[in-house]
């Protein structure tokens, strides 16, 4: 599936990338391809089409997959 991967905040700065297009079947695989790192860090949150998901979530064509650090609003 062709998906768009987005990184936010400290994760975007650490990886030095903002948005990447990849072909992936799960969010976890999208992480590996887009970040170049084998495993998803335990504290990284995953959202598909702006809803929180488990990293094993299957993806569909055109999904937006986002990875970001713990949220610190408020």
């Amino acid at each position: 599936m062709a998906v768009t991967v987005r990184f936010f905040a400290s994760l975007r700065e650490r990886l030095g990338r903002d948005e990447v297009q990849v072909e992936a079947s799960t969010a976890e695989q999208a992480w590996q391809l887009a970040s170049g790192e084998a495993s998803l860090p335990a504290n990284v949150l995953v959202a598909v089409n702006m809803a929180y998901v488990d990293p094993a979530q299957a993806l569909e064509e055109g999904d937006e997959v986002a990875f970001f650090p713990p949220v610190t609003g408020g």
Partner: protein
């Protein structure tokens, strides 16, 4: 319900007053509100500036979900959430949550829930500027 991201100065008192004027007079007996304001210190350092990043679209969606969940769990007349994005300075209001109900129990509990739920779910990230440079805030303090 009103949920808004604010890019310029946030006036929480005005926001609550403006929203309350839209409610049916005599319908609410309790208004509870929480205002979060930027401190000039964090974890032992002076902080001069804070940048609030968010995920456009997902942030608004989660604020709406939090507001809807509060309305489902408590008997409320209405709720309000306004949150700053962009650069804020010490003493600037960052967030206001408010809940209106007939009696105080629902308003107090829902207002607390709005704040705690948005802090744990809504995708905002703070980067603070200190004397040592800028750093991302890694986690929020516990609310309960």
């Amino acid at each position: 319900m009103r949920v808004a991201l604010i890019e310029t100065a946030l006036d929480p008192w005005q926001a609550v007053q403006t929203h309350q004027r839209c409610l049916t007079p005599g319908s609410y007996g309790a208004t509870a509100l929480f205002v979060g304001t930027m401190r000039d210190f964090n974890e032992g350092s002076g902080v001069s500036e804070l940048f609030l990043e968010h995920y456009p679209g997902m942030t608004e969606r989660h604020l709406v979900q939090v507001a809807e969940e509060a309305q489902a769990r408590w008997t409320l007349i209405d709720v309000l959430i306004e949150h700053r994005v962009g650069t804020v300075y010490p003493d600037d209001p960052i967030v206001v949550t408010a809940a209106w109900s007939a009696h105080r129990k629902d308003a107090f509990e829902a207002c607390r829930f709005l704040m705690e739920a948005l802090k744990s779910r809504a995708p905002f990230w703070k980067r603070e500027t200190t004397e040592q440079g800028s750093r991302w805030v890694e986690r929020n303090t516990a609310g309960y």
